[in-house]
Amino acid sequence: MLDRDRALALHRMMLLIRGFEQKASALYRDGRLPGFIHLSIGQEACAAGACAALEPGDWITSTHRGHGHCLAKGADPARMMAELFARVDGYSKGRGGSMHIADVAQGVLGANGIVGQSVPLAVGAAYSAQVRGERSVALAFFGEGASSAGAVHEAMNMAALWRLPVVFFCEANGYAELTPYEVHVPIESVATRAAAYGFPGQLVDGNDVTQVYAAVHHAAARARAGEGPSLIEARTLRWHGHYEGDPQSYKKAADKPGSNLADPIAIFGEKLRDFGIDAATDAEARAWATAEIERAIAFAEASPEPALSAILEDVYAGEAA
Protein backbone atom coordinates (compact mmCIF):
# COMPACT_ATOMS: atom_id res chain seq x y z
CA MET A 1 0.00 0.00 0.00
CA LEU A 2 2.86 2.34 0.81
CA ASP A 3 4.97 3.16 -2.19
CA ARG A 4 8.31 4.94 -2.02
CA ASP A 5 6.87 8.40 -2.45
CA ARG A 6 4.37 7.98 0.31
CA ALA A 7 6.92 6.39 2.58
CA LEU A 8 9.27 9.27 2.01
CA ALA A 9 6.48 11.75 2.64
CA LEU A 10 5.71 10.04 5.93
CA HIS A 11 9.33 10.15 6.97
CA ARG A 12 9.68 13.79 6.04
CA MET A 13 6.50 14.69 7.89
CA MET A 14 7.59 12.96 11.08
CA LEU A 15 10.90 14.79 10.88
CA LEU A 16 9.13 18.08 10.33
CA ILE A 17 6.83 17.56 13.29
CA ARG A 18 9.66 16.49 15.54
CA GLY A 19 11.78 19.41 14.45
CA PHE A 20 8.96 21.88 14.85
CA GLU A 21 8.14 20.76 18.34
CA GLN A 22 11.68 20.43 19.54
CA LYS A 23 12.24 23.97 18.41
CA ALA A 24 9.03 25.09 20.08
CA SER A 25 10.18 23.40 23.27
CA ALA A 26 13.47 25.23 23.20
CA LEU A 27 11.84 28.55 22.40
CA TYR A 28 9.36 28.05 25.21
CA ARG A 29 12.14 27.23 27.66
CA ASP A 30 13.85 30.42 26.60
CA GLY A 31 10.71 32.37 27.43
CA ARG A 32 10.07 33.34 23.83
CA LEU A 33 6.60 31.85 23.50
CA PRO A 34 3.75 33.15 25.66
CA GLY A 35 1.01 31.06 27.27
CA PHE A 36 1.14 27.29 27.46
CA ILE A 37 2.10 24.72 24.85
CA HIS A 38 1.42 21.00 24.69
CA LEU A 39 3.82 18.92 22.61
CA SER A 40 3.39 15.56 20.91
CA ILE A 41 7.04 14.59 20.63
CA GLY A 42 7.17 10.79 20.42
CA GLN A 43 3.69 10.63 18.83
CA GLU A 44 4.62 11.72 15.31
CA ALA A 45 3.58 8.46 13.66
CA CYS A 46 -0.02 9.09 14.63
CA ALA A 47 -0.35 12.52 13.07
CA ALA A 48 1.77 11.69 10.03
CA GLY A 49 0.25 8.28 9.35
CA ALA A 50 -3.35 9.32 9.86
CA CYS A 51 -3.25 12.50 7.78
CA ALA A 52 -1.29 10.88 4.95
CA ALA A 53 -4.11 8.40 4.56
CA LEU A 54 -6.61 11.22 3.99
CA GLU A 55 -7.30 13.22 0.84
CA PRO A 56 -6.90 16.96 0.46
CA GLY A 57 -10.65 17.53 0.63
CA ASP A 58 -10.94 15.64 3.90
CA TRP A 59 -11.17 17.32 7.27
CA ILE A 60 -9.52 16.81 10.60
CA THR A 61 -10.37 18.17 14.01
CA SER A 62 -7.64 18.31 16.59
CA THR A 63 -6.97 18.86 20.26
CA HIS A 64 -4.85 20.98 22.60
CA ARG A 65 -1.93 18.83 21.41
CA GLY A 66 -2.39 19.58 17.76
CA HIS A 67 0.85 20.77 16.14
CA GLY A 68 1.55 17.42 14.55
CA HIS A 69 -1.99 17.00 13.26
CA CYS A 70 -2.02 20.45 11.70
CA LEU A 71 1.37 20.06 10.03
CA ALA A 72 0.53 16.62 8.72
CA LYS A 73 -2.73 17.84 7.18
CA GLY A 74 -0.86 20.56 5.35
CA ALA A 75 -0.72 23.61 7.58
CA ASP A 76 2.24 25.87 6.95
CA PRO A 77 4.85 25.62 9.72
CA ALA A 78 5.65 29.29 9.23
CA ARG A 79 2.14 30.48 9.95
CA MET A 80 1.94 28.03 12.83
CA MET A 81 5.17 29.30 14.32
CA ALA A 82 3.96 32.86 13.89
CA GLU A 83 0.90 31.90 15.92
CA LEU A 84 3.04 30.46 18.70
CA PHE A 85 4.92 33.75 18.70
CA ALA A 86 1.55 35.57 18.91
CA ARG A 87 2.24 37.42 15.67
CA VAL A 88 -0.21 38.79 13.19
CA ASP A 89 0.70 36.34 10.42
CA GLY A 90 -0.21 33.39 12.60
CA TYR A 91 -3.25 31.33 11.70
CA SER A 92 -5.31 33.07 14.37
CA LYS A 93 -3.68 36.43 13.68
CA GLY A 94 -1.72 35.84 16.86
CA ARG A 95 -4.77 35.92 19.09
CA GLY A 96 -5.39 32.19 19.54
CA GLY A 97 -2.06 30.56 20.23
CA SER A 98 -1.01 26.94 20.06
CA MET A 99 -4.39 25.58 21.09
CA HIS A 100 -6.41 27.14 18.28
CA ILE A 101 -4.36 26.61 15.16
CA ALA A 102 -6.49 25.88 12.11
CA ASP A 103 -6.06 25.95 8.37
CA VAL A 104 -9.52 25.49 7.00
CA ALA A 105 -8.36 25.56 3.38
CA GLN A 106 -6.22 22.52 4.12
CA GLY A 107 -9.08 20.82 5.96
CA VAL A 108 -7.72 21.57 9.42
CA LEU A 109 -10.80 22.63 11.36
CA GLY A 110 -8.73 23.51 14.34
CA ALA A 111 -6.96 22.50 17.45
CA ASN A 112 -9.29 22.90 20.40
CA GLY A 113 -8.83 23.62 24.06
CA ILE A 114 -11.91 21.75 25.23
CA VAL A 115 -11.16 18.07 25.68
CA GLY A 116 -13.64 15.91 23.77
CA GLN A 117 -15.16 18.54 21.48
CA SER A 118 -12.97 17.59 18.54
CA VAL A 119 -15.12 14.50 18.16
CA PRO A 120 -18.63 15.94 17.67
CA LEU A 121 -17.17 18.75 15.59
CA ALA A 122 -15.81 16.15 13.17
CA VAL A 123 -19.14 14.37 13.16
CA GLY A 124 -20.70 17.66 12.10
CA ALA A 125 -18.25 18.00 9.24
CA ALA A 126 -19.08 14.45 8.17
CA TYR A 127 -22.77 15.25 8.31
CA SER A 128 -22.08 18.29 6.18
CA ALA A 129 -20.38 16.10 3.57
CA GLN A 130 -23.29 13.67 3.66
CA VAL A 131 -25.93 16.36 3.16
CA ARG A 132 -24.06 17.98 0.32
CA GLY A 133 -23.23 14.68 -1.33
CA GLU A 134 -19.51 15.36 -1.14
CA ARG A 135 -17.02 12.56 -0.76
CA SER A 136 -15.09 14.20 2.07
CA VAL A 137 -14.26 12.24 5.18
CA ALA A 138 -13.74 13.78 8.60
CA LEU A 139 -11.20 12.45 11.06
CA ALA A 140 -11.31 13.35 14.74
CA PHE A 141 -8.14 13.18 16.79
CA PHE A 142 -8.68 12.72 20.50
CA GLY A 143 -6.81 11.25 23.43
CA GLU A 144 -7.59 8.37 25.74
CA GLY A 145 -8.44 10.95 28.36
CA ALA A 146 -11.02 12.45 26.04
CA SER A 147 -12.58 9.04 25.52
CA SER A 148 -14.32 9.48 28.89
CA ALA A 149 -16.08 12.64 27.78
CA GLY A 150 -19.80 12.47 27.18
CA ALA A 151 -19.41 14.45 23.98
CA VAL A 152 -17.43 11.58 22.50
CA HIS A 153 -20.13 9.04 23.22
CA GLU A 154 -22.83 11.32 21.87
CA ALA A 155 -20.83 11.89 18.72
CA MET A 156 -20.05 8.23 18.08
CA ASN A 157 -23.65 7.25 18.62
CA MET A 158 -24.86 9.90 16.18
CA ALA A 159 -22.28 8.92 13.61
CA ALA A 160 -23.39 5.31 13.82
CA LEU A 161 -27.08 6.18 13.60
CA TRP A 162 -26.53 8.37 10.58
CA ARG A 163 -23.77 6.24 9.00
CA LEU A 164 -21.52 9.24 8.66
CA PRO A 165 -18.16 9.32 6.88
CA VAL A 166 -16.01 9.83 9.94
CA VAL A 167 -12.93 8.21 11.44
CA PHE A 168 -12.48 8.36 15.20
CA PHE A 169 -8.78 8.34 15.91
CA CYS A 170 -7.91 7.87 19.56
CA GLU A 171 -4.27 8.77 20.04
CA ALA A 172 -3.55 7.10 23.34
CA ASN A 173 -0.29 8.53 24.58
CA GLY A 174 -0.32 6.85 27.98
CA TYR A 175 -1.47 9.86 29.99
CA ALA A 176 -4.14 12.47 30.36
CA GLU A 177 -2.52 15.41 32.06
CA LEU A 178 -0.92 13.85 35.14
CA THR A 179 -2.69 10.51 35.29
CA PRO A 180 -2.08 7.29 33.36
CA TYR A 181 -4.32 5.43 30.93
CA GLU A 182 -5.84 3.19 33.59
CA VAL A 183 -7.25 6.12 35.57
CA HIS A 184 -9.38 6.89 32.53
CA VAL A 185 -10.09 3.66 30.71
CA PRO A 186 -11.48 0.67 32.61
CA ILE A 187 -10.98 -1.79 29.76
CA GLU A 188 -8.05 -3.12 27.75
CA SER A 189 -8.57 -0.84 24.80
CA VAL A 190 -10.75 2.09 23.85
CA ALA A 191 -11.10 0.44 20.45
CA THR A 192 -13.46 -2.08 22.04
CA ARG A 193 -16.02 0.70 22.35
CA ALA A 194 -16.74 0.55 18.63
CA ALA A 195 -18.97 -2.42 19.35
CA ALA A 196 -21.13 -0.17 21.51
CA TYR A 197 -22.13 1.58 18.30
CA GLY A 198 -21.91 -1.24 15.81
CA PHE A 199 -18.96 -0.08 13.77
CA PRO A 200 -15.46 -1.56 13.51
CA GLY A 201 -12.76 -0.83 16.03
CA GLN A 202 -9.07 -1.54 15.78
CA LEU A 203 -6.08 -1.20 18.07
CA VAL A 204 -2.79 -0.38 16.34
CA ASP A 205 0.76 0.39 17.34
CA GLY A 206 0.82 4.16 17.24
CA ASN A 207 4.58 4.19 17.02
CA ASP A 208 4.50 2.33 13.73
CA VAL A 209 3.52 4.79 11.05
CA THR A 210 2.75 2.02 8.58
CA GLN A 211 0.15 0.52 10.89
CA VAL A 212 -1.45 3.88 11.49
CA TYR A 213 -1.48 4.66 7.80
CA ALA A 214 -3.02 1.31 6.88
CA ALA A 215 -5.73 1.49 9.52
CA VAL A 216 -6.80 5.01 8.61
CA HIS A 217 -6.59 4.29 4.92
CA HIS A 218 -8.96 1.41 5.39
CA ALA A 219 -11.33 3.37 7.63
CA ALA A 220 -11.40 6.34 5.28
CA ALA A 221 -12.16 4.13 2.30
CA ARG A 222 -14.99 2.56 4.22
CA ALA A 223 -16.34 5.96 5.20
CA ARG A 224 -16.10 7.22 1.63
CA ALA A 225 -17.95 4.16 0.40
CA GLY A 226 -20.89 5.09 2.64
CA GLU A 227 -20.24 2.30 5.12
CA GLY A 228 -20.04 4.63 8.10
CA PRO A 229 -17.63 5.34 10.91
CA SER A 230 -14.69 3.44 12.37
CA LEU A 231 -12.74 3.74 15.56
CA ILE A 232 -8.99 3.35 15.73
CA GLU A 233 -6.94 3.43 18.88
CA ALA A 234 -3.25 4.05 18.34
CA ARG A 235 -0.96 3.39 21.30
CA THR A 236 1.97 5.71 21.67
CA LEU A 237 3.71 7.73 24.35
CA ARG A 238 3.91 11.38 25.21
CA TRP A 239 7.63 11.96 25.74
CA HIS A 240 7.33 15.42 27.20
CA GLY A 241 5.17 16.71 30.01
CA HIS A 242 1.50 17.50 29.67
CA TYR A 243 2.60 21.10 29.13
CA GLU A 244 6.10 22.38 28.63
CA GLY A 245 7.57 22.91 32.08
CA ASP A 246 5.66 20.01 33.63
CA PRO A 247 8.03 18.27 36.09
CA GLN A 248 6.54 14.85 35.17
CA SER A 249 7.13 13.36 38.59
CA TYR A 250 3.93 11.34 38.17
CA LYS A 251 5.27 9.34 35.23
CA LYS A 252 6.04 5.66 35.43
CA ALA A 253 9.79 5.02 35.31
CA ALA A 254 9.69 3.44 31.88
CA ASP A 255 7.91 6.48 30.46
CA LYS A 256 10.20 9.11 31.92
CA PRO A 257 12.49 11.24 29.83
CA GLY A 258 15.83 9.47 29.63
CA SER A 259 14.27 6.00 29.47
CA ASN A 260 14.61 4.02 26.33
CA LEU A 261 11.45 5.24 24.64
CA ALA A 262 10.09 3.80 21.43
CA ASP A 263 10.87 6.34 18.73
CA PRO A 264 8.52 6.29 15.74
CA ILE A 265 11.08 8.04 13.57
CA ALA A 266 13.77 5.50 14.39
CA ILE A 267 11.31 2.63 13.96
CA PHE A 268 10.36 3.78 10.52
CA GLY A 269 14.00 4.64 9.86
CA GLU A 270 14.80 0.93 10.02
CA LYS A 271 12.38 0.34 7.18
CA LEU A 272 13.39 3.14 4.86
CA ARG A 273 15.69 0.88 2.88
CA ASP A 274 12.79 -1.51 2.20
CA PHE A 275 10.99 1.36 0.53
CA GLY A 276 13.98 2.22 -1.55
CA ILE A 277 14.96 5.26 0.48
CA ASP A 278 18.70 5.51 0.83
CA ALA A 279 20.84 7.36 3.32
CA ALA A 280 21.31 10.32 1.02
CA THR A 281 17.58 10.77 0.64
CA ASP A 282 17.20 10.47 4.38
CA ALA A 283 19.81 13.14 4.91
CA GLU A 284 18.08 15.32 2.38
CA ALA A 285 14.78 14.86 4.22
CA ARG A 286 16.41 15.87 7.48
CA ALA A 287 17.93 18.91 5.87
CA TRP A 288 14.59 19.86 4.40
CA ALA A 289 12.91 19.62 7.79
CA THR A 290 15.56 21.75 9.41
CA ALA A 291 15.27 24.33 6.66
CA GLU A 292 11.51 24.41 7.03
CA ILE A 293 11.80 25.09 10.75
CA GLU A 294 14.32 27.83 10.11
CA ARG A 295 12.05 29.35 7.53
CA ALA A 296 9.19 29.16 10.01
CA ILE A 297 11.11 30.91 12.74
CA ALA A 298 12.39 33.62 10.41
CA PHE A 299 8.84 34.19 9.21
CA ALA A 300 7.49 34.32 12.74
CA GLU A 301 10.16 36.66 13.95
CA ALA A 302 9.60 38.99 11.05
CA SER A 303 5.88 39.13 11.60
CA PRO A 304 4.60 42.08 13.65
CA GLU A 305 2.44 41.84 16.74
CA PRO A 306 -1.23 42.39 16.10
CA ALA A 307 -2.42 45.97 16.47
CA LEU A 308 -4.46 46.78 19.56
CA SER A 309 -7.43 47.37 17.29
CA ALA A 310 -7.42 43.63 16.61
CA ILE A 311 -9.02 43.06 20.02
CA LEU A 312 -12.44 43.61 18.53
CA GLU A 313 -11.80 41.98 15.17
CA ASP A 314 -13.54 38.76 14.10
CA VAL A 315 -15.88 38.67 17.05
CA TYR A 316 -18.79 39.02 14.65
CA ALA A 317 -18.98 38.86 10.87
CA GLY A 318 -17.96 42.00 9.07
CA GLU A 319 -15.54 42.94 11.78
CA ALA A 320 -12.38 41.83 10.04
CA ALA A 321 -9.75 44.51 9.63
Binding site: G110, N112, P120
Partner: protein, 329 residues
Protein backbone atom coordinates in the same frame (compact mmCIF):
# COMPACT_ATOMS: atom_id res chain seq x y z
CA UNK B 1 -56.73 39.15 7.12
CA UNK B 2 -55.21 35.66 7.45
CA UNK B 3 -53.75 34.92 10.87
CA UNK B 4 -50.47 33.33 11.74
CA UNK B 5 -49.86 31.43 14.94
CA UNK B 6 -46.58 31.74 16.75
CA UNK B 7 -45.55 28.13 16.20
CA UNK B 8 -46.64 28.31 12.57
CA UNK B 9 -44.43 31.35 12.10
CA UNK B 10 -41.53 29.12 13.08
CA UNK B 11 -42.53 26.46 10.56
CA UNK B 12 -42.99 29.09 7.87
CA UNK B 13 -39.62 30.69 8.55
CA UNK B 14 -37.92 27.30 8.36
CA UNK B 15 -39.83 26.33 5.24
CA UNK B 16 -39.07 29.56 3.41
CA UNK B 17 -35.40 29.60 4.31
CA UNK B 18 -34.87 25.91 3.58
CA UNK B 19 -36.52 26.44 0.22
CA UNK B 20 -34.38 29.48 -0.53
CA UNK B 21 -31.07 28.04 0.62
CA UNK B 22 -30.14 24.36 0.31
CA UNK B 23 -27.45 24.83 2.95
CA UNK B 24 -30.05 25.27 5.66
CA UNK B 25 -30.69 22.07 7.63
CA UNK B 26 -32.72 21.34 10.74
CA UNK B 27 -31.60 19.11 13.60
CA UNK B 28 -33.24 18.25 16.87
CA UNK B 29 -35.16 15.80 18.96
CA UNK B 30 -38.43 14.94 17.21
CA UNK B 31 -38.17 17.57 14.49
CA UNK B 32 -38.58 14.83 11.86
CA UNK B 33 -41.59 12.78 10.73
CA UNK B 34 -43.52 13.47 13.95
CA UNK B 35 -43.49 17.19 13.21
CA UNK B 36 -42.45 18.20 16.69
CA UNK B 37 -44.13 18.23 20.04
CA UNK B 38 -45.87 21.54 19.31
CA UNK B 39 -46.37 20.69 15.61
CA UNK B 40 -43.74 23.34 14.98
CA UNK B 41 -41.84 21.40 12.31
CA UNK B 42 -44.79 19.72 10.65
CA UNK B 43 -44.31 19.03 6.96
CA UNK B 44 -40.64 19.88 6.81
CA UNK B 45 -39.34 16.33 6.90
CA UNK B 46 -41.63 15.33 4.05
CA UNK B 47 -40.64 18.35 2.01
CA UNK B 48 -36.89 18.49 2.58
CA UNK B 49 -36.09 14.87 3.29
CA UNK B 50 -34.38 12.95 6.05
CA UNK B 51 -30.91 14.37 5.51
CA UNK B 52 -31.91 17.99 5.83
CA UNK B 53 -34.43 17.40 8.61
CA UNK B 54 -32.78 15.14 11.13
CA UNK B 55 -34.21 13.56 14.23
CA UNK B 56 -31.33 13.50 16.67
CA UNK B 57 -30.69 11.25 19.63
CA UNK B 58 -30.93 12.88 23.08
CA UNK B 59 -27.45 14.29 23.00
CA UNK B 60 -27.62 18.06 23.13
CA UNK B 61 -23.92 18.61 23.58
CA UNK B 62 -23.18 16.25 20.73
CA UNK B 63 -25.62 17.49 18.16
CA UNK B 64 -25.10 21.17 18.88
CA UNK B 65 -21.37 20.62 18.57
CA UNK B 66 -21.97 18.66 15.37
CA UNK B 67 -24.05 21.55 14.09
CA UNK B 68 -21.09 23.82 14.78
CA UNK B 69 -18.87 21.48 12.78
CA UNK B 70 -21.43 21.49 9.99
CA UNK B 71 -21.60 25.29 10.08
CA UNK B 72 -17.80 25.42 9.71
CA UNK B 73 -17.98 23.29 6.60
CA UNK B 74 -20.63 24.88 4.49
CA UNK B 75 -24.03 24.23 6.02
CA UNK B 76 -26.26 26.69 7.83
CA UNK B 77 -27.75 24.49 10.55
CA UNK B 78 -30.76 25.30 12.64
CA UNK B 79 -31.02 23.26 15.82
CA UNK B 80 -33.95 22.85 18.13
CA UNK B 81 -33.57 22.33 21.86
CA UNK B 82 -37.00 21.48 23.21
CA UNK B 83 -36.95 23.48 26.41
CA UNK B 84 -34.68 26.40 27.23
CA UNK B 85 -33.72 24.69 30.46
CA UNK B 86 -31.81 22.03 28.52
CA UNK B 87 -29.38 24.65 27.28
CA UNK B 88 -27.41 23.61 30.35
CA UNK B 89 -26.59 20.49 28.34
CA UNK B 90 -24.97 22.27 25.39
CA UNK B 91 -23.18 25.27 26.83
CA UNK B 92 -19.77 24.25 25.63
CA UNK B 93 -20.50 24.05 21.91
CA UNK B 94 -22.33 27.36 22.15
CA UNK B 95 -19.97 29.31 24.37
CA UNK B 96 -16.53 27.84 23.82
CA UNK B 97 -17.03 26.79 20.21
CA UNK B 98 -19.71 28.63 18.20
CA UNK B 99 -19.19 31.98 19.89
CA UNK B 100 -15.40 31.97 19.68
CA UNK B 101 -14.45 30.05 16.55
CA UNK B 102 -14.49 32.99 14.17
CA UNK B 103 -12.19 34.81 16.55
CA UNK B 104 -10.03 31.83 17.46
CA UNK B 105 -9.54 30.90 13.83
CA UNK B 106 -8.56 34.42 12.90
CA UNK B 107 -11.63 34.97 10.75
CA UNK B 108 -11.03 31.92 8.54
CA UNK B 109 -14.61 30.81 9.08
CA UNK B 110 -17.82 31.88 10.74
CA UNK B 111 -20.44 29.78 12.46
CA UNK B 112 -23.81 30.48 10.83
CA UNK B 113 -25.77 28.47 13.36
CA UNK B 114 -29.24 29.14 14.71
CA UNK B 115 -30.44 27.52 17.89
CA UNK B 116 -34.05 27.95 18.90
CA UNK B 117 -35.74 26.76 22.03
CA UNK B 118 -38.94 27.22 24.00
CA UNK B 119 -38.26 29.07 27.23
CA UNK B 120 -40.06 30.78 30.05
CA UNK B 121 -42.79 29.88 32.48
CA UNK B 122 -46.49 30.17 32.97
CA UNK B 123 -47.45 26.58 32.19
CA UNK B 124 -46.89 24.89 35.56
CA UNK B 125 -43.96 23.11 34.02
CA UNK B 126 -41.94 23.30 37.22
CA UNK B 127 -38.38 24.25 38.16
CA UNK B 128 -36.56 22.39 35.37
CA UNK B 129 -38.87 23.40 32.53
CA UNK B 130 -39.60 27.09 33.03
CA UNK B 131 -36.36 29.03 33.06
CA UNK B 132 -35.37 32.13 31.12
CA UNK B 133 -31.62 32.05 30.61
CA UNK B 134 -31.09 34.78 28.02
CA UNK B 135 -28.71 36.69 30.28
CA UNK B 136 -26.13 33.90 30.13
CA UNK B 137 -25.87 34.25 26.38
CA UNK B 138 -25.99 38.04 26.36
CA UNK B 139 -22.86 37.77 28.51
CA UNK B 140 -20.96 35.93 25.78
CA UNK B 141 -19.28 37.81 22.94
CA UNK B 142 -19.71 36.20 19.56
CA UNK B 143 -23.32 35.19 20.13
CA UNK B 144 -26.46 37.03 19.16
CA UNK B 145 -29.60 36.50 21.21
CA UNK B 146 -33.16 37.24 20.21
CA UNK B 147 -36.54 36.81 21.86
CA UNK B 148 -39.38 37.43 19.41
CA UNK B 149 -42.62 38.03 21.25
CA UNK B 150 -45.12 37.87 18.40
CA UNK B 151 -45.73 35.55 15.50
CA UNK B 152 -44.76 38.13 12.88
CA UNK B 153 -41.55 39.00 14.70
CA UNK B 154 -40.78 35.33 15.07
CA UNK B 155 -41.17 34.86 11.34
CA UNK B 156 -39.12 37.87 10.39
CA UNK B 157 -36.41 37.51 13.01
CA UNK B 158 -36.00 33.78 12.54
CA UNK B 159 -35.45 34.35 8.84
CA UNK B 160 -32.90 37.06 9.57
CA UNK B 161 -31.20 34.78 12.09
CA UNK B 162 -30.86 32.02 9.51
CA UNK B 163 -29.30 34.48 7.07
CA UNK B 164 -26.98 35.86 9.71
CA UNK B 165 -23.34 34.78 9.51
CA UNK B 166 -22.99 34.50 13.28
CA UNK B 167 -24.50 32.10 15.78
CA UNK B 168 -27.92 33.25 16.96
CA UNK B 169 -29.77 31.93 20.00
CA UNK B 170 -33.52 32.26 19.59
CA UNK B 171 -35.49 32.07 22.82
CA UNK B 172 -39.14 31.53 22.08
CA UNK B 173 -41.92 31.84 24.62
CA UNK B 174 -43.65 28.56 25.47
CA UNK B 175 -46.71 30.47 26.55
CA UNK B 176 -46.82 32.35 23.25
CA UNK B 177 -47.04 29.21 21.13
CA UNK B 178 -50.73 29.63 20.41
CA UNK B 179 -50.69 33.42 20.09
CA UNK B 180 -51.58 34.92 16.73
CA UNK B 181 -50.65 37.88 14.59
CA UNK B 182 -51.70 39.00 11.16
CA UNK B 183 -49.86 36.83 8.69
CA UNK B 184 -47.30 38.92 6.83
CA UNK B 185 -47.72 38.73 3.08
CA UNK B 186 -44.67 37.75 1.09
CA UNK B 187 -41.10 37.92 2.28
CA UNK B 188 -41.01 39.25 5.83
CA UNK B 189 -37.65 40.07 7.35
CA UNK B 190 -37.10 41.79 10.67
CA UNK B 191 -33.54 42.88 11.35
CA UNK B 192 -31.80 41.67 14.49
CA UNK B 193 -30.71 44.17 17.08
CA UNK B 194 -33.68 46.52 16.90
CA UNK B 195 -36.11 47.11 19.71
CA UNK B 196 -39.70 48.03 18.91
CA UNK B 197 -41.86 50.61 20.62
CA UNK B 198 -45.09 48.67 21.00
CA UNK B 199 -46.98 51.50 22.62
CA UNK B 200 -46.15 55.16 22.93
CA UNK B 201 -46.42 57.03 26.16
CA UNK B 202 -45.02 60.07 27.89
CA UNK B 203 -44.96 59.04 31.54
CA UNK B 204 -42.58 56.14 31.79
CA UNK B 205 -40.45 53.88 29.66
CA UNK B 206 -41.47 50.29 30.25
CA UNK B 207 -38.80 48.02 28.81
CA UNK B 208 -39.62 44.37 28.47
CA UNK B 209 -39.05 41.27 26.40
CA UNK B 210 -40.36 37.88 25.35
CA UNK B 211 -43.33 36.52 27.24
CA UNK B 212 -43.53 39.65 29.35
CA UNK B 213 -44.51 41.77 26.35
CA UNK B 214 -48.23 40.87 26.55
CA UNK B 215 -48.08 41.32 30.32
CA UNK B 216 -46.53 44.75 29.98
CA UNK B 217 -49.04 45.80 27.35
CA UNK B 218 -51.90 44.74 29.56
CA UNK B 219 -50.41 46.71 32.42
CA UNK B 220 -50.07 49.70 30.13
CA UNK B 221 -53.72 49.48 29.15
CA UNK B 222 -54.75 49.46 32.77
CA UNK B 223 -52.44 52.37 33.52
CA UNK B 224 -53.89 54.33 30.62
CA UNK B 225 -57.31 54.12 32.21
CA UNK B 226 -55.72 55.79 35.23
CA UNK B 227 -54.14 58.49 33.13
CA UNK B 228 -50.64 57.05 33.16
CA UNK B 229 -49.16 56.61 29.70
CA UNK B 230 -46.46 53.98 29.58
CA UNK B 231 -44.21 53.69 26.55
CA UNK B 232 -43.73 49.95 26.10
CA UNK B 233 -40.51 48.87 24.44
CA UNK B 234 -40.13 45.27 23.32
CA UNK B 235 -36.38 44.68 23.21
CA UNK B 236 -36.74 41.78 20.75
CA UNK B 237 -32.96 41.36 20.60
CA UNK B 238 -31.01 41.14 23.81
CA UNK B 239 -27.61 40.83 22.17
CA UNK B 240 -26.92 43.17 20.59
CA UNK B 241 -29.23 45.24 22.74
CA UNK B 242 -30.77 48.36 21.28
CA UNK B 243 -29.90 50.80 24.04
CA UNK B 244 -30.47 53.73 21.68
CA UNK B 245 -34.20 53.10 21.47
CA UNK B 246 -34.45 52.80 25.23
CA UNK B 247 -32.42 55.96 25.75
CA UNK B 248 -34.52 57.86 23.23
CA UNK B 249 -37.65 57.01 25.15
CA UNK B 250 -36.09 57.64 28.52
CA UNK B 251 -35.09 61.08 27.40
CA UNK B 252 -38.75 61.89 26.99
CA UNK B 253 -40.19 60.08 30.01
CA UNK B 254 -37.41 60.31 32.59
CA UNK B 255 -38.74 57.14 34.20
CA UNK B 256 -37.43 53.62 33.58
CA UNK B 257 -39.13 50.38 34.48
CA UNK B 258 -37.77 47.05 33.26
CA UNK B 259 -39.88 43.92 33.46
CA UNK B 260 -38.46 40.47 32.90
CA UNK B 261 -39.35 36.90 33.56
CA UNK B 262 -35.76 35.85 34.25
CA UNK B 263 -34.12 36.05 37.64
CA UNK B 264 -33.11 39.56 38.64
CA UNK B 265 -29.40 39.29 39.48
CA UNK B 266 -27.26 39.88 36.39
CA UNK B 267 -30.29 39.77 34.14
CA UNK B 268 -31.17 41.84 31.09
CA UNK B 269 -32.90 44.32 33.38
CA UNK B 270 -29.65 44.87 35.24
CA UNK B 271 -27.94 45.56 31.95
CA UNK B 272 -30.55 48.01 30.74
CA UNK B 273 -30.72 49.85 34.04
CA UNK B 274 -27.00 50.13 34.46
CA UNK B 275 -26.43 51.16 30.86
CA UNK B 276 -28.99 53.93 31.26
CA UNK B 277 -27.59 54.93 34.65
CA UNK B 278 -24.07 55.12 33.25
CA UNK B 279 -24.73 56.80 29.92
CA UNK B 280 -28.01 58.61 30.39
CA UNK B 281 -27.90 59.53 34.03
CA UNK B 282 -29.17 63.02 33.39
CA UNK B 283 -32.36 61.66 31.89
CA UNK B 284 -33.29 59.65 34.96
CA UNK B 285 -35.74 61.74 36.91
CA UNK B 286 -36.38 58.95 39.42
CA UNK B 287 -34.73 55.74 40.52
CA UNK B 288 -35.05 53.14 37.80
CA UNK B 289 -37.00 50.04 38.77
CA UNK B 290 -36.62 46.38 37.89
CA UNK B 291 -39.47 43.91 38.18
CA UNK B 292 -38.67 40.22 38.07
CA UNK B 293 -39.74 37.09 39.96
CA UNK B 294 -38.40 36.45 43.44
CA UNK B 295 -34.99 34.77 43.50
CA UNK B 296 -36.23 31.19 43.59
CA UNK B 297 -36.91 28.32 41.19
CA UNK B 298 -40.16 28.47 39.27
CA UNK B 299 -42.89 26.73 41.28
CA UNK B 300 -45.07 24.06 39.70
CA UNK B 301 -48.07 25.13 41.79
CA UNK B 302 -50.30 27.24 39.53
CA UNK B 303 -51.24 29.78 42.21
CA UNK B 304 -47.63 30.17 43.27
CA UNK B 305 -46.41 30.50 39.73
CA UNK B 306 -48.98 33.19 39.04
CA UNK B 307 -47.74 35.12 42.06
CA UNK B 308 -44.11 34.44 41.15
CA UNK B 309 -44.22 35.81 37.63
CA UNK B 310 -44.68 39.51 36.97
CA UNK B 311 -48.34 40.11 36.20
CA UNK B 312 -50.23 43.03 34.68
CA UNK B 313 -51.17 43.98 38.22
CA UNK B 314 -47.68 43.85 39.69
CA UNK B 315 -46.24 45.69 36.72
CA UNK B 316 -48.91 48.38 36.95
CA UNK B 317 -48.24 48.67 40.64
CA UNK B 318 -44.54 49.23 40.06
CA UNK B 319 -45.33 51.77 37.37
CA UNK B 320 -47.68 53.67 39.64
CA UNK B 321 -45.05 53.85 42.35
CA UNK B 322 -42.49 55.07 39.84
CA UNK B 323 -44.77 57.72 38.45
CA UNK B 324 -46.00 58.61 41.92
CA UNK B 325 -42.41 59.36 42.74
CA UNK B 326 -42.48 61.77 39.83
CA UNK B 327 -45.63 63.40 41.11
CA UNK B 328 -44.17 63.66 44.55
CA UNK B 329 -40.94 65.05 43.11
Amino acid sequence: MPKLKYYQALTRALDEEMTRDPRVVLLGEDVGPSGGIFAQTRGLHGKFGPLRVRDTPIAENGFVSAAVGAAMTGLRPVVEIGFGDFLTCCMDPLVNQAAKLRYMLGGQIGVPLVLYTFAGGGLSAGPQHSQSLEAWFAHVPGLKVIMPATADDLLGMMKSAIRDDDPVIVLLGKKLIGSTAEAPVGEHLVPLGQALVRRSGRDLTLVTLGQMVPTALKAAEQLATEGIEAEVIDLRSVSPLDHATVAGSLKRTGRLLVVQEAMGPCGIGAEVVSEMAQHHFAHLRAAPVRVSPPFAPSPFTPALEAAYLPSPASVAEAARALVGERRAA
